[in-house]
C-alpha cells in the first residue's frame, strides 16, 4: 500500500488526480512534516497561499515561522536561504517568476552553487529555489521567459523541470532531500493541469529522464510544458505511421545522457524541443552531446525546435507564434523522418 521510495507514477501504487500546484503542495507538506528543518520563504506565500496557490493552506498547518512570507527582497530572500542552508536548515525559497532571478543571481551563482567547492568540502548548501517560467498567459516579456539555460551553465547547481503533477511531487521531494542547491523550475501554465499522483511518500530521483511514450522512428527530447505538446504531436504522428519516442528529461542537470543515447541509437533521429529560445538553449547541449557520442548512429542531423529569438510579445496570436506548438512538432518530426 505505501508507495516504495522511488515509485514512479504508473506503477502499481495508489494515486489521486491532483493539479500540478496541489502536487507541489503535497510534496512540501510531506517534507515539512518529515523534517522540521524544512521551511519555505517567499513573497505572498502565507495567507495568500502563493501567487499560484502552491502554498495554500500550509500557513495554517505549519505557522508563520516555517511558511515565512517575505518583503519583496529577492537577493535578501535567496541569500538568507543560502545562510540558513549552510547552517543546518533545509530552506525552500520561492522566486515568483524566473524573470526575477537576475535580482538574486549573485547568491545563486556566486554563493550557493560554489560554497561547497570553494570551501574545499567544508560546507553543503541544501537549498531549493522554486520558481516558474514560460509563456502563454499574456504576461509579456518580463514575466514569461524560459531561462533554464542560464542555470544549466553554472557548475554546482542542479536544474529540475517537472512536466506532470506526479513528477512535480516526486521531484520536489527529491530536491528537498538533496544536499545541493537545486533550481526547481515550474511552468505557469502547468499549475492547473491535472494528473494521477501517487499518494503518500513519493520521491522521483533527480538525474533520471522518463520515457513518456515509446517509439521507434525518432526520439523527441523535451521538458516542462513542451512534453505535453510532444505527446499530443506523437498521437498525430502515429496516425501517419510515425512512432515518436518522447523522453521527458525531468532533470536538466545532472543530465540523463544514457537514456537519450540509448533511445537515439535505436531511432537514429533526434529532435529536441524546448520553449526557451533556440540560441544558447539547452537543446544545443543535448544535440552536441548526441552528435559527439552517437554520430555513427544518426541517420539525420540532430535537430532543435525551440522558441523564436525574440522577447515574448503581448498579443495572444504573437505570443503563441514564438514558441513551439503541437503542429510545429508534428511538422518538424515529419521532416526529420522524411
Amino acid at each position: 500500500m505505501p508507495a516504495p521510495e522511488a515509485a514512479e507514477a504508473g506503477s502499481a501504487v495508489a494515486t489521486t488526480e491532483l493539479f500540478y500546484a496541489e502536487a507541489l503542495r503535497e510534496a512540501l507538506r510531506l517534507e515539512m512534516q518529515r523534517d522540521p528543518r524544512v521551511l519555505v520563504m517567499g513573497e505572498d506565500i502565507a495567507e495568500h497561499g502563493g501567487a499560484f496557490q502552491v502554498t495554500a493552506g500550509l500557513l495554517a498547518e505549519f505557522g508563520a515561522n516555517r511558511i515565512r512570507q517575505t518583503p519583496i527582497s529577492e537577493i535578501g530572500i535567496v541569500g538568507a536561504g543560502v545562510g540558513a542552508a549552510l547552517t543546518g536548515l533545509r530552506p525552500v525559497v520561492e522566486l515568483m517568476y524566473i524573470d526575477f532571478s537576475g535580482l538574486a543571481i549573485d547568491q545563486i551563482v556566486n554563493q550557493a552553487a560554489q560554497n561547497r567547492f570553494m570551501f574545499g568540502g567544508q560546507a553543503r548548501v541544501p537549498l531549493v529555489v522554486r520558481t516558474q517560467g514560460g509563456s502563454g498567459r499574456g504576461n509579456a516579456a518580463q514575466h514569461s521567459k524560459s531561462l533554464e539555460a542560464w542555470f544549466t551553465h553554472v557548475a554546482g547547481l542542479k536544474v529540475v523541470m517537472p512536466a506532470t503533477p506526479a513528477d512535480a511531487k516526486g521531484l520536489l521531494a527529491a530536491a528537498i532531500r538533496d544536499d545541493d542547491p537545486v533550481m526547481f523550475i515550474e511552468h505557469k501554465l502547468l499549475y492547473r493541469t491535472k494528473g494521477p499522483v501517487p499518494t503518500g511518500e513519493h520521491v522521483v530521483p533527480l538525474g533520471k529522464a522518463d520515457v513518456k511514450r515509446a517509439g521507434r522512428d525518432l526520439t523527441i527530447v523535451t521538458w516542462s510544458r513542451e512534453v505535453l505538446f510532444a505527446l499530443e504531436a506523437a498521437e498525430t504522428l502515429a496516425g501517419d505511421g510515425i512512432e515518436a519516442e518522447v523522453i521527458d528529461l525531468r532533470t536538466l542537470v545532472p543530465l540523463d545522457r544514457d537514456a537519450i543515447l540509448a533511445s537515439v541509437r535505436r531511432t537514429r533521429r533526434l529532435l529536441v524541443v524546448h520553449e526557451a529560445i533556440r540560441r544558447g538553449g539547452y537543446g544545443g547541449e543535448i544535440a552536441a552531446m548526441v552528435a559527439e557520442e552517437a554520430f555513427d548512429d544518426l541517420d539525420a542531423p540532430p535537430r532543435r525546435l525551440a522558441g523564436v529569438e525574440t522577447p515574448i510579445p503581448y498579443a495572444a496570436h504573437l505570443e503563441r507564434g514564438v514558441v513551439p506548438q503541437v503542429e510545429d512538432i508534428v511538422r518538424v518530426a515529419r521532416e526529420l523522418v522524411g
Binding site: S73, G121, A123
Partner: protein, 321 residues
C-alpha cells in the same frame, strides 16, 4: 570601560597575530609564493579582535575579501591559513578557495567573500537558523563601507529587523571603497544613522581603540543572544595598505597614509593604554610579539611542507550523487 588583564592581553595578542600574518603574507607574495592577490587588513585589527572576542565557536561570521583578520580572530589555525594561500591540499579549502574564499566552518566562519556585500544576507540566514532551531547562537556580518551601499545591505537589514534575527552587522569603514573615499559615497556623515531607517540600533565607534569596539560589540551580541534582534555597528578604521597587494593607490597621497598610520594604529594604541593603565609592561608585550612571530614562522614552515592541491573530483561539486 573596564577590561580585565587577561582579556586585554588576549585582544592584543589577536591583533598582533593579524598584523604579523598580513606582513608575512605580503612578504610571501613578494617572493612569488602566493598565487592571485591578497587584501591586507592591517590597520583594522581592532574590529575583528574586539567583536570576535564575544563569539563562541558555534556562533557564525561572514567575512569579506579582506578576510584574514576575521579568520584569525575566529581562532583559525595559522598553518592551515598559510597552506590555503600557498595552494596546498592541507589548506582550509584544499587550495580550491584561496585568500578570498577562506573559510573555517568548524569555528563558524562561513567564509571570506569575493563579492562585496555577498556575505550580508548569508549571515542573516545563519541567524534565521538560530531562531528557527531555538538556539542562542548569534551571527555577525563583517563588511566594509563599500558594501553599505549594496542592495544586499539594505535587504538584509530590513529582513533581520522585521524578523528580529540574532545578527550583528559590523561595518568596517576604512574610509575607502577600493578607490572611492567614503565622503564621496555617502550623503550622510555617519553610516550608523542608516540603522534608523531599518528600525534597529546603530552604534558608531572609533575602530582604533579595541576597548571601544569590544564594548559596543559585547552589548550588541548580548542583545542578539537574548532575542533582542539585530544591531548595526559602524567602526571607523584606516586601511594601512592598498586595496589589494600592489595597488598603486593613486587615490590617496603618501602624506595622508603616513599621517593616518601614525595616528591610527590599533597596536600602537593598545600598547599605549595597556602600559599606561598598568595592565602590561612593554617587555611583556614584546614577549607576546616575539611569541607571535615564532608561531607565525612555524606555521609557514608547516604550510610549506604540504602537498599541492590534489586534482578535482566530481564529488567535490555535488554533495548528493
Amino acid at each position: 570601560m573596564t577590561i580585565d588583564r587577561a582579556d586585554a592581553l588576549e585582544l592584543y595578542r589577536v591583533m598582533r597575530t593579524i598584523r604579523r600574518f598580513e606582513q608575512r603574507s605580503t612578504t610571501l607574495f613578494g617572493e612569488n609564493k602566493i598565487w592571485g592577490t591578497i587584501h591586507s587588513y592591517a590597520g583594522e585589527e581592532a574590529i575583528a579582535a574586539g567583536v570576535c572576542a564575544h563569539l563562541r565557536d558555534d556562533d557564525w561570521i561572514t567575512s569579506t575579501h579582506r578576510g584574514h583578520g576575521h579568520c584569525i580572530a575566529k581562532r583559525a589555525d595559522l598553518g592551515r591559513m598559510f597552506a590555503e594561500l600557498l595552494g596546498r591540499e592541507t589548506g582550509y579549502c584544499r587550495g580550491r578557495g584561496g585568500s578570498m574564499h577562506i573559510a573555517d566552518t568548524s569555528k563558524g566562519n562561513l567564509g571570506a567573500n569575493g563579492i562585496v556585500g555577498g556575505g550580508i544576507p548569508i549571515a542573516t540566514g545563519a541567524a534565521l537558523t538560530a531562531q528557527q532551531l531555538g538556539t542562542d547562537q548569534v551571527a555577525v556580518s563583517f563588511f566594509g563601507d563599500g558594501a553599505a551601499n549594496q542592495g544586499t545591505f539594505h535587504e538584509s537589514l530590513n529582513l533581520a529587523a522585521i524578523w528580529k534575527l540574532p545578527v550583528v552587522y559590523v561595518c568596517e569603514n576604512n574610509q575607502y571603497a577600493e578607490s572611492l573615499p567614503a565622503a564621496r559615497a555617502f550623503a550622510v556623515d555617519d553610516i550608523a544613522t542608516r540603522a534608523i531607517g531599518y528600525g534597529m540600533p546603530g552604534i558608531h565607534v572609533d575602530g582604533r581603540d579595541v576597548r571601544l569596539v569590544h564594548e559596543a560589540a559585547g552589548e550588541a551580541i548580548a542583545r542578539a543572544r537574548a532575542g533582542g534582534g539585530p544591531t548595526l555597528i559602524v567602526a571607523e578604521a584606516y586601511r594601512h595598505e592598498g586595496h589589494y597587494y600592489g595597488d598603486p593607490q593613486q587615490y590617496r597621497t603618501k602624506g595622508e597614509i603616513e599621517a593616518w598610520r601614525a595616528t591610527f594604529d590599533p597596536l600602537i594604541n593598545a600598547r599605549a593604554w595597556l602600559t599606561t593603565d598598568g595592565l602590561a609592561t612593554d617587555a611583556e608585550l614584546d614577549a607576546i610579539d616575539t611569541a607571535v612571530d615564532e608561531e607565525m614562522e612555524q606555521a609557514i614552515a608547516w604550510a610549506e611542507t604540504g602537498p599541492i592541491a590534489s586534482p578535482i573530483t566530481p564529488e567535490e561539486i555535488y554533495a548528493s550523487a
